[in-house]
Amino acid sequence: MGLREPAWRVTTRELELSTVEERGGASRVAAYLLSPFGARMNRVVLAGTLGPAEPIGRDEPASFWRARLADSLGQVSVTAGSFQPRAMVQLRASSADRPAIVVGKVHLYVGRDGGGSVSIRAEAVRSVAESEERAAIAETLRQTLDRLDLLERIEHEPSVADAALRLGGYPAAWITAAREALRRYPEADRHGFRASLRAGVDHVAGIRLARPGPPEGSVRITVDAPLPSRPEPSSTERAAEAEFLGLVDEAAESSEDGYADVREILRRLASKGVGPEQAEAVLGRLEEGGLLEEPIVGKLRRA
């Protein structure tokens, strides 16, 4: 297998229903978000209608932006910070709704109340013609159905060999993901999910429907269960936390041992005008919130 992960084609609905995260061990630092329907995602491609971007935090100039991407099944937050300058410019490029294709990494934010929400950290955003957006949705639906078929096949015949499934045209990565999804989401409602894809097919066919409101269990990027001892963090603080976590992920991915070096993080933040005291405060909040841990002095990882 190559070094580059394939980008999974998923609908926003599948992301909304994904709650299981796999963190790599010491030798594998890549993180995966596992969906109930057989996607084991690091990078994804999404298509839909992208809304205008809004800044997160009150810092001037704003260094972290968020927009909502809606397809006919649901919606998801797409973010870009100053570490993805190209994506940030593209995310901010329009103040009106537009058909778009987004390439990015999935990010599961687990709040202090244990509830999670998925967002996409954009690597690339492109406004496209409506026909291109519909073609991308068609591909997403086709691959989603392929994955559902694969899950059914394995559930029906758990002992089927990977080689037999490969001959059936399923990529090795999909087979791994499907087996894991069956194990981790034994109760997943695949029939209901399959039926919900109908709205997407109508969209591909060019049938316009009223855009659904935010569905249940929709995206929350915020943590809304303040600890009694502390006031709810401000949006500036939350943006700083997200930025910090992003830096930890990047540093961990490029390091040999899979840990992010604290000094490295502080240096990067300093170059962005964030002083060590501020940075320590953010780190403190993240450790307190159980999002980061420091198993070795000076080395950070996701808890």
Binding site: L3, P6, V45, A100, V103, A173
Partner: protein, 388 residues
Amino acid sequence: MSDGAVPPELPEVPLREVGARSPVVHIVGRIVSVRRREIVRSTDGSRRPLLSGLLSDGTATVRFTWWDPPREEIERGTILRAVGAEVREFRGRSELVFTWKTRIGPAGPAELPRIDPESLPLRTVRELADGDEGFRLDVRVLTVQAKPVSVGEERRVVHEGLFADGAGVIAFSSWNDFGLAAGESVRIVGGYVRSFRGRRQLVLDDRSHVARIDGSALPEPARWLRRPPRPIADVEAEGGGEATAIEGLVVGLLPPSGLVYRCPECRRAVVGGLCRVHGTVTGIADLRARLVLDDGTGAATVSAGRAATEQLWGLTLADVRDRLKELADPSVLEEQLAETVVGRRLVVRGSASRDDFGLTVAPESIEPAEVDLDTAAAELAARLNRGS
């Protein structure tokens, strides 16, 4: 070399049979590659020269080691007769060792084993592996192109293209002009297979024979050249292949992309005014795009050259150089290219190979993918109805 007239006492064997008969053999072969080295003895630190390389007689190619060779240069292409060469096994392959007991003399092309083409096994493209020779092959010429190259001081023309049979496609390069034309069917005798960066290539030279045959059993070129795109995961699992088609979305652009500078001598990329081989040079401007194409099953790097990049970008090299004059930061160019290409759906045809960095495609063509939305919607609806 020692005296040319070596009386052969041992019966001569073709290289294909070396190893099977006896530990000491008598062979005639042509040096295909050769390198002079020195081994330092650990006991007294003295140096001992040796030549090593590959020897071929048209039936097989074997590695040889020649201890204490003559001081004069032994050139590639030299044909020699070796009587009393020792046979060793190394990793399952037979090798020849020339020692002080081996008598070595020059030989002529006529002394090489006479190969009766009918005695050689008929192989298929799929079976061919690196180092293979001594086979017959019936193939269709899919493409062929003459390309001038310099070999040292010499200017030569190499004919490159693709051969195919019913089971596979292989690249070829021919140092002789056999008058090959796309679409015709040929029987090849006396070619050998070489692998470079994971890409198999059939090499033809002046020892090879090409005969026109009736190709009714061979596929039409279009069957290979216009075949539908395949999942990238499948291409990757097979390690690549010729005349491969893939379809996907551009999900990224790898550096260096956009405006690049190339060495006027060798076309390598010039970094900081320096060519890796030719030192300080004035680079020639060129365009390229290293696209990451992804179809949801896997990802491949597509190395687009100038023509394809101009087409994707909608700008010519001259346009891009004009833009450069107005830009304070040339890296903006790469970002502008990325904005133009990311998210585009493309069909790419070409030669795919796999290495440590994943799958790479050297494209023959890059075209926008056509999607029929009505058909796609109807197929999806049918699947949903079936499943629920």
